[in-house]
Symmetry: T
């Protein structure tokens, strides 16, 4: 299939660049850089390449989601705080037209009320939360499976 050679996009929202530094009791001690490497390795086992990025800027994340419309096979998105507030990100994702998996390091439902609603969930194929860096790896497996389709 033509779509296969396209990479998957793994996008990370605001403050995730601090991973491993801030609040380790919630987010663990692995850095985002280390997670990026683990993700690439896991994706490789499915024959997939990865574009792995982070931004604190809502607009930049929207730019990347738009870019992914033609340049990615699917997306894994950890929207950070924009998950809960960005209708603009929601609108960008509506136009994505690629399988989307929403992830979070921690379990937002075990945290403050204002982290319970997500502007991403209703557009995602599936959601995986609470497994730390493991959320990324499970998402790679899940997305790979979605891309292979029912035939696999």
């Amino acid at each position: 299939m033509a779509k296969k050679p396209l990479p998957i996009y793994v996008l990370n929202g605001p403050n995730l660049n601090l991973l491993g530094l801030r609040e380790p009791e919630i987010y663990g001690r692995t850095t985002l850089n280390e997670i990026g490497k683990m993700v690439a390795k896991q994706a490789k086992t499915h024959g997939l390449s990865v574009v792995f990025r982070q931004s604190n800027h809502e607009g930049e994340l929207i730019d990347w989601v738009q870019e992914a419309r033609t340049k990615s096979a699917g997306m894994i998105l950890n929207g950070g705080a924009y998950t809960h507030t960005s209708l603009a990100l929601h609108d960008a994702l509506r136009a994505l037209d690629k399988p989307l998996v929403e992830i979070h390091l921690s379990n937002p439902f075990a945290r403050e009320e204002f982290r319970h609603h997500s502007y991403i969930s209703s557009l995602a194929k599936g959601v995986i939360v609470g497994f730390g860096a493991g959320s990324y790896l499970l998402a790679v497996d899940a997305l790979a499976s979605l891309l292979e389709g029912p035939a696999a």
Copy 2:
């Protein structure tokens, strides 16, 4: 009048650069570029020039609104999703002190509940929604009429 030679600003918020590509059943098939040309042409019939821009970045839109305080005769604003979430954009518009017309391509009141509230409406002279690219052209007429004042 001194104000006349100033152009009108037509600003477009997040994801409007995808116009004509995403969800045509809601937004139609005309691209934002094509709309820009139609707007310039329509404005010309009123002897008005146009500054036509789009950004996915909330901060950039705020920069432009501030710029328009001294460099525009009036504004037409399609805030996209920031319409519904950006208090910062609202604050920028409070300081605009120029006639403002809010527009939308589709009719937000016929869509999801979270698109019913607007941070722009209470500051706008008028609102025009639901006529696709036509919303822009009607807004040009309306803004021209506001600039001409009661004498016209």
Copy 3:
């Protein structure tokens, strides 16, 4: 087309007969009668005739909306206060099956909270508010454009 010779209906809800008399700082000084003439003139430029009426009676407006099902090409509706309270008018409009443009003289979103919700908006093709008598004229242009369709 067979529909062309049919007039457009421009209906006005409660208290709009007081136009030009009450609260001129909100509604302006033009009377409803004068607006009726301006509307007819503007419609003529599009080759359209107009039925222009006002009533304080919810039931009478519903009767007229029902009448418009077979006798009009499209409708411009300034529902006045019934805009915000009349589910019965909403139901009548659901059966209209003609292009509908909702208008208001002032911008309801810059007024009291209880004027923010409209039972008409979700059924309208588009909404134009805040331009005083200008709202009517822009609506005539918009409706004409809708009646001509994409071919025009």
Copy 4:
């Protein structure tokens, strides 16, 4: 009994005169006129006569409810949209002092949220909804049974 010779009142609220014409996927294709005949026939099997009326005017419905205080044996009421908004109709029914059956053609609980509350239900002996014209016939049976009382 003295009450028997009095007819039952079957009143219909706004837009029900469009029955069979508008939104047949919700309301079916039978006209209100045809329903009136079916109702009269069904009532006759119980030895009852029928006053069958429709109005788009809230005030006219209130007048009829007041009239029914002395001129009817009981009432079947399809309040249409006034069901959900008319406190004045509610007040009129409070003074009715005759058995009341509320009916609806479609099932309002399977429709929009704003059709879930009824100003009539709390005053009705019973409610029957969702069976199209059948709602009227079941209501005639139910009302007949209420009028005959426990002895039957």
Copy 5:
């Protein structure tokens, strides 16, 4: 003063024609006709004449309020159930520009929740509720006092 010879308008909303007949434990046993006579007599002691009317039709009440703009010195309004639902009546009263006293026979605050909000109160000079027919007589005294002004 020029205003003196004008009568005061005493308007009564839906179902008040049933007074003395329905729910006497709430509304008492005096008929509306009898109240009309008591009001006229009491007004006479202040040198005032009275126009006393009742309607079940929201639109008719609005017509009368509009009429009162030029033909009355002031208004006493028992809006009945429209008190709680009619934004259109509210809009009509906004244009009244005469002293307005809102009254109710019973005390709405001791009744159902949905009778606690009034669309009239915010526009009234004062409110008198709960004294049965006495509410009308106290309102005549109060309105007379308002018309005489601080000099009296």
Copy 6:
């Protein structure tokens, strides 16, 4: 038709086994057993047989609804208190794929607020409430009519 020989299921939720014993001013004095016999007799007039059951156990009611998917022609359900709280029952009914009539002995809309919402109504073809044991008999007529279809 193949479906005809299948019985209709008439299921009764928690505490309905106390019928005739508890709160007779609300529920009447007829026992559930007696109602079962009346239902069977009424169904027979339509050539229908009946499976009539009651349980206080949410899970057992769900088991029966699942069973009815293949073994019934249609269902009459008096869900008792589970009507208002059981999303699990709602999910079971979603898979029923047979005409469903919701009934209640008393009129829940004339009772406490927490009995106004129903998890069953949105899935039912129709709802009949408030006629005591009569609700069951009217429901049999209604369901029979639904099973016969438009041809009858």
Copy 7:
């Protein structure tokens, strides 16, 4: 009757001792002392004496309401801000068992939202608001009328 010689209690809540001094555009320029004299004079025309008091202390007002149970014929209460917050005052009034008239100088329904609810209204025979010092005088008339009963 034995009750007649008892005085009526006219109690005034917090900040009413500032009357005539603070915010005259809302409360007028008459002092509470002057109102006390007007009230006594008006009561005398009905053959009634008056106990007229003010306190800023919720507990003291409650003490007085309890005292009034045996020492007053009826009560006029301007609860000031405690009207809107004091459930304890409400409970004291529940045990009053004398006719109670609630008054306010200004019309609370034309002021902030948090002045719309009253803990007193549901226990009052009637409510009179918005007539400045006139509210007190009308209340004296109303209370006198209530004490005389239907025979008068």
Copy 8:
């Protein structure tokens, strides 16, 4: 470690026994039985055995959760509709003291509002939704990883 030989519990709530039969567009065509086999196979790759059960009875699910306190190494729970309504299940899970993974076949956040809240999420280590039968397999991997701990 002593815990290793203990099986993992995979519990399924109400209506999941209908899997593959009802609403395949939401839940897919795989039966619960088939999923049970896939889960066992996947668990085996981690050296884990599985207890796989389903019940429509809230109480039975609670019994099983209590049983799992001493007889399981960890739990995967698809609570079905009880997810959203069962505080009792929540309380049972609070006492579980084993790693818990909540799963759903479909994505509840893309469905009705009343499926957005979960009584399970706040007690779960992680949540996986939206991948159909894949949700189970990912959960087995996730749970295995949690049981192996950071050393693995």
Copy 9:
């Protein structure tokens, strides 16, 4: 009296069988079995016998409440989580017609918001919470006192 020989029912809802095992910082270390013995002993001092049961099944608790209608002199109910969610249990208790005392081991008002509402409280004679096993013993005393009546 005939009622005396009847035992009192002490019913315990879901998860109370784990007492003494789970979350001892909230519920203490005494087992339900031990509480049962303490209750029996305390009841004996009042000449009362006890039926002491626990179930995780809502339906079984309802069965027992129904049984208690004829077989008990009064009831002490620790509804556990069903306290907060079971309208069906509420309905069963409405038909109990015996003195009912609601108890909880811990103080629900010092815990999560969703434990603050009780479907039992409004039907109970009294409520005792927060004294651990002591809540049961105080309830036995309270119930004994209620059964002895004012004469004792």
Copy 10:
């Protein structure tokens, strides 16, 4: 222990001095004075002395709670209406640092909605409501038991 000789404080809020006089169908016929004696007697059986007071003044109750910080062994508090409105009392109790038992004569959960929330409950060790004067006696037993501690 050093604390033993200190008395327990039994404080009573607004309007409780009317006990036995007002609304006996809710509060019974025993006076507060009589309850004070019963409490002292009951406390004596536990070797405890009692300080028993009542005030209608929120500030006075706060003064007493502060006094109790050093002069009492524990407190029983019937806050009356201040229970539901006094955050200041709540703050005083936060600093009490002695076992606190909240009581009410009647069951607030069987009364108006605004009596359901308590500012005291979350700070109390336990709550006892609904047993009239018996609530006080049970509270003495409960408090005595708390003071004796687990050793007793």
Copy 11:
């Protein structure tokens, strides 16, 4: 200026007399008396004298605010719990007509929800919270600066 010789009022609400004794982790260990001295000293550096008071009685605080209308140059108010509940205090402050600074020792926005709303804030010139005794000293500086006006 004539106003200068007037002292500033520093008023403290309920439970602040316990400062330094209760909950030191929230309120610190400095007593109110010590703060009074620090405030006087700090005020002296601005040439200001201080009236420093505390009361647990809402009415007494209102009395003092009224007194301050003529006897103070400005006010610093730590309303304690009355901040969040006292509309009567709000009304007293509306009539103060002197610069008002609201302070709190701790940061109420980092505490319970019911401490987030303040009846004082909307009337204050400024608000300073969270700096313990430092809040008082900063407020003295701020108030001094306000009294000196723009010239300083």
Copy 12:
């Protein structure tokens, strides 16, 4: 201490660059540049240097907060409109781990409802609002005091 030589960060959110230009009746006439100089001067009196910045871009503010984690001794933050909408800024501040003082020029509690909630307050040591440029200077004093600690 090593931390002392680090500057304090004073960050300013959207539209604050317009200070002195827009809405002077709310924000005063001092420009942000002038405030920056005053702040630097005031900080110098405490031996502190200042990094003073403004941005309209949410992401840029987040970048700066992250930078301040290692490069600042403490922070003063005027978040402008992002105060009320930016959860992402909140998350960045959670990782700041330096004393934070939130400030506003005007008093948000005296403005629109949507300016009452702050995502910053719960993370700030203290909050100072309403003193115009003075808010900045007081915050410098407060922050200096926090940095010196209890020893100072």
